[in-house]
Structure formats: structure tokens, C-alpha cells
């Protein structure tokens, strides 16, 4: 019996060299993960951090916004518009910017939240999009320039994919993302060699 094999693949491998056709959508929502160069200087971004802190005023304001579906929608849209322009925000809903030198890790094609992969090119180029700079190289430079390089030691926990599209600021003020990262890497308390039987 002769079997006719129907080709399952839609197009030959490597048919497209267009980065836009990479299938780079790692997350379940939002635009592709492509490195974005922050448009806000590191100094201004860290100043903004002081304003956006979850202080009592922001917490109260967030509470008010969350009481109305419409206000929440409008606020989320405003957050999306500003952060998209400034940081290439993809609305993961659990913002890491305050501890990544305000360079968005969700622009990394591998969405790495704990630092750069080993494929960064000699000049700091992204492995997947060589014409772009690695978001972590940019983030390290920006954090270091503001004396915040130690932030990159924090262990970042896996993100919650249910939060895509939500306002990260509201989540931040309400304390819903307090668990996102640790205070430090905790290296000093990690077990020593031979501690494990």
C-alpha cells in the first residue's frame, strides 16, 4: 500500500528572513518581544520612581480608580500609552522596570527576567535581533549609572500570565506584586558545596 504523505509544514524552514515574521510573540498577549531602547533617560526614570512609589497617596488614588470599571479602563489605557512610548511596554501587568534600570525585560525575545542570556554579541547586540541592543546590557548600564546595579541581583520569580493587559501600577500600589522579586540574591544563605547528601 502506498501512503501519500501530506506535508504538514506550512512553509519551508528559513523561508522568511523578515524579523517581523519570526513568531516572536512569546507571551499570550501584547505585541512581539523586541528589544526597545528606553526613551526616558535613566535619571528621569529613577526620579519618576519616587513619584510612583506605593505611598499612602498613590495607594488611596489606586483604590479610588479600582472602584470604577470605567476609571480603571481609562487609567490602564493611559498607562499603556505612556509606557509603550517610553519603554516599549507590552502590558505584562507585573512591571519589573523599577529594578531593571528601566529597560523592559519583556522586550527580550526570550523574556528573561533575571539578566542577559549568553548570546549577547560583542558590542552588546541582541542575539535574535542583532540590529538592537540587548535590553539587559542597556538595563545594566542605566542601573549602574544611577548607583542601582545591585537591583540586578534580585531573584525575579516567574510571572503570572493571567495578568497580561492589566495595569501594573494598580497592581503595584495594591501590593499585589510584592512577591515578584527578592530583596537580594540571597547568595550568603545558599547551601555550601557538599551540604546536600
Amino acid at each position: 500500500m502506498t501512503r501519500v504523505m501530506v506535508e504538514l509544514r506550512s512553509r519551508p524552514p528559513g523561508a522568511s528572513q523578515d524579523p517581523g515574521a519570526l513568531g516572536g510573540v512569546t507571551g499570550t498577549a501584547g505585541p512581539r518581544s523586541v528589544p526597545h531602547r528606553p526613551r526616558l533617560s535613566a535619571r528621569l526614570a529613577y526620579l519618576m520612581q519616587k513619584v510612583l512609589k506605593p505611598n499612602p497617596a498613590n495607594r488611596r488614588f489606586g483604590g479610588v480608580v479600582e472602584r470604577s470599571a470605567l476609571a480603571r479602563k481609562a487609567f490602564t489605557a493611559a498607562e499603556r500609552a505612556s509606557k509603550e512610548t517610553l519603554f516599549g511596554c507590552r502590558m505584562c501587568g507585573q512591571c519589573a522596570l523599577p529594578v531593571t534600570g528601566y529597560s523592559c525585560p519583556m522586550g527580550c525575545p526570550k523574556e528573561l527576567r533575571n539578566g542577559p542570556c549568553g548570546g549577547v554579541g560583542p558590542g552588546g547586540a541582541c542575539e535574535v535581533y542583532p540590529e538592537k541592543r540587548c535590553v539587559w546590557v542597556v538595563g545594566y548600564e542605566r542601573a549602574a549609572s544611577q548607583g542601582a546595579a545591585a537591583d540586578l541581583r534580585r531573584l525575579q520569580r516567574p510571572i503570572d500570565h493571567r495578568l497580561w493587559g492589566e495595569s501594573s501600577w494598580l497592581n503595584y500600589w495594591a501590593g499585589r506584586d510584592d512577591h515578584l522579586w527578592t530583596a537580594d540574591d540571597g547568595l550568603e544563605t545558599a547551601p555550601l558545596m557538599g551540604d546536600h547528601g
Binding site: 506550512s10 512553509r11 524552514p13 528559513g14 522568511s16 519570526l22 513568531g23 516572536g24 510573540v25 512569546t26 525575545p109 526570550k110 523574556e111 528573561l112 527576567r113 533575571n114 539578566g115 542577559p116 542570556c117 549568553g118 548570546g119 549577547v120 554579541g121 560583542p122 558590542g123 552588546g124 542575539e127 535574535v128 540587548c134 539587559w136 546590557v137 545594566y140 548600564e141 546595579a149 540586578l152 541581583r153 531573584l155 525575579q156 520569580r157 516567574p158 500570565h161 540574591d185 540571597g186 547568595l187 550568603e188 545558599a190 547551601p191 555550601l192 558545596m193 557538599g194 546536600h196
Partner: protein, 326 residues
């Protein structure tokens, strides 16, 4: 039990190598290549669809190698193809099948492989995956908090590229993986001894070397063609320093392989002298036949793992047991 862990914890000079599973539904050829490394290396990485090319699953390759008794396997796991449910499930599977040595990495992007249109998963990164495996083992819990009965036994590894930007962050980045649970760390190709030494020294200053054993990655440039390819800058994460390129270009094209082997032997001998380096990781898949000669040239003495009076390994060296009781 993991003999790799015992050797590294004892500070014995340890050699690991890389074995790529085949593109096919048989592990036989891979086991043949493993046989060539018997006694010469302490454990082999079974790669996980390296370069985003579909190969026999790393867990299956690891089980085949383990069952052959030729060498202890190290199962590689990338974050590219599985979400946290599948990764944890496979970790439990590895634990149940007695695969203890694990090595975590982010993984190459699908763009570089034979299915460039595949969905890149990257639900977790390599640090988070290392942390997850440690949680499974030490807390007997899943990420969800659900309890495991029983918890797996694992020896956890990670990788780092000390030569990729930002170079001044790379020791901290490695330390982060060590804090997350990495007990051994293999590096990308070492050609620049100075940069590598600085990286290891910083790890030592951070106290990370008391927690993790470093194995320096060593590669062999086998031909003029391979030199051109690696020097082109098109291989993710691989940078060949100018002096190395000059040295290899300085010999007739037919001699590049021999000169490349001499260079690799010199690198092995040099990294052995760096305090804190416990071993080497041979990134020499496909070079199994020449590996013993390379190690001899580097002055590595493996005779204690071979029967007395011979310089060839024997069946007793299987599963890493040396015949003289070491």
C-alpha cells in the same frame, strides 16, 4: 547517586563533555560515541534540542546513557520548549528514572533552528528553572506549593558566558544562578584566559565558589572552515579573540586542526592553574575519537580510573567507579 557531585565536592579535577542525541529514533550511535569517552570523562551533557534543532529528547538520551553504564549523564533542560507545568513534570520524571545531574539554560531562540516558526515558550528563565528544581528537591514542593511525595534527588547545574556583555555583570549573574541553587557551572568556550580568570576571581570574592564548582568550557577549533565560522561572529555567544585567530591563521590550512588541538590542550592546562576551577567541560561534540589524545596532550592523568598497568579504560570504569577503589 551522583558521582559527579562527589568528585566536584571533593575538589577532584573533573572532566565533562557534550553528547548530542541523534536526529532519529535510536540512541545506538550516541552510545557508540559515549563508549569512546569511557573513563576519560566523568559525565556527559545530553543536549536538549541544541541550536533549536529537533533531536531525540534529552531525557531519553540521558536514560539510555545511564542504562548503558558507560558514563554518568547530565540531562540538559532548556526553557525554550516547555512551560512550567511540563518542566516540573519532566523534572519529576528525571527524578523517578534516577537522572540526578541536571543542567539548566535558557536555550537558543527557535529562529536559529530547523523550525524557525515554532512558538518560543520561555515561560521561565534558567535562573527560575534552577530555583524551581531546588524547590522540588529541598522543599518537596511544586511552584504551586503542592507537596511532592517523594521529593527528587538532584545535582543542579547552570551555565554562564563570562565573555558576553555586560562582562562586568557576568560574575554577579552567575552568582544569581548559584544563589538559585546551581551547584556546578559550565562556561562557554574559554579562549581569553585573562577575562576568565577575572570572572572566577570575582566569583571567589563573592563566596560563590564555596557553593558551586566551576568547569571551564574548552573547545577545539578543528579546521580552517570551523575557524572562519566561529570567527564570523554568527555563532551566538562565541567570541574568538584576535590573538587566537592570528595564531591559527598563521599555520597552513591543513594544520589548523592540529594547532587547534594544541591550543585547546594549553587552555586545559592553563585553567587548571586558576584557583577555583575544579574541572573542564569539553564542548567537543563529534570529537570523541580524538578526546583521549587531547587530554593526554593537556597532561591530564586518568590512569587511576583505568585498570592497573594499562592506559585504557575498562568495563569496571563504568558508572564512574574506578577499578582501584577510588
Amino acid at each position: 547517586m551522583s558521582l559527579l557531585r562527589d568528585r566536584l565536592a571533593a575538589g577532584e579535577f573533573t572532566i565533562t563533555a557534550e553528547l548530542s542525541p541523534p536526529r532519529g529514533a535510536s540512541a545506538a550511535a550516541m552510545l557508540g560515541r559515549a563508549e569512546l569517552l569511557r573513563g576519560w570523562v566523568d559525565a556527559v551533557n545530553i543536549t536538549d534540542n541544541q541550536g533549536s534543532h529537533v533531536r531525540l529528547a534529552s531525557w531519553a538520551g540521558a536514560v539510555a546513557v545511564q542504562q548503558s553504564g558507560v558514563i554518568e549523564p547530565i540531562m540538559q533542560m532548556t526553557c525554550r520548549d516547555r512551560n512550567r507545568i511540563a518542566l516540573q513534570s519532566d523534572l519529576l520524571g528525571a527524578g523517578a528514572l534516577g537522572i540526578e545531574n541536571l543542567l539548566f539554560m535558557s536555550g537558543d531562540h527557535p529562529k536559529f533552528g530547523d523550525h524557525p516558526g515554532a512558538k518560543p515558550v520561555f515561560d521561565m528563565d534558567s535562573t527560575q528553572l534552577t530555583w524551581t528544581a531546588r524547590t522540588l528537591r529541598d522543599e518537596a514542593k511544586l511552584l504551586s506549593g503542592k507537596e511532592l511525595n517523594p521529593a527528587p534527588r538532584f545535582f543542579l547545574g547552570a551555565v554562564e558566558n563570562p565573555f558576553a556583555p555586560p562582562v562586568e555583570y557576568r560574575a554577579r549573574r552567575a552568582a544569581k544562578k548559584i544563589a538559585a541553587g546551581a551547584q556546578f557551572m559550565q562556561t562557554q568556550y574559554v579562549f581569553d584566559i585573562d577575562v576568565f580568570t577575572r570572572w572566577v576571581t570575582e566569583l571567589g570574592e563573592l563566596g560563590a565558589l564555596d557553593r558551586c564548582a566551576v568547569l571551564a568550557g574548552v573547545g577545539v577549533i578543528r579546521s580552517a572552515r570551523m575557524l572562519d565560522f566561529l570567527a564570523s561572529g554568527k555563532v551566538p555567544g562565541v567570541q574568538i579573540p584576535e590573538p587566537v585567530i592570528r595564531r591559527l591563521r598563521g599555520v597552513p590550512p591543513d594544520d589548523v586542526g592540529a594547532e587547534g588541538a594544541r591550543l585547546a590542550a594549553e587552555v586545559i592546562a592553563a585553567v587548571r592553574q586558576i584557583p577555583g576551577v575544579v574541572g573542564v567541560h569539553l564542548l567537543t561534540a563529534g570529537y570523541e575519537k580524538q578526546t583521549p589524545e587531547l587530554l593526554r596532550m593537556a597532561g591530564v592523568d586518568r590512569t587511576r580510573y583505568f585498570p592497573a598497568g594499562t592506559n585504557q579504560p575498562a568495563a569496571a570504569a563504568l558508572a564512574g567507579k574506578s577499578p582501584d577503589g577510588h
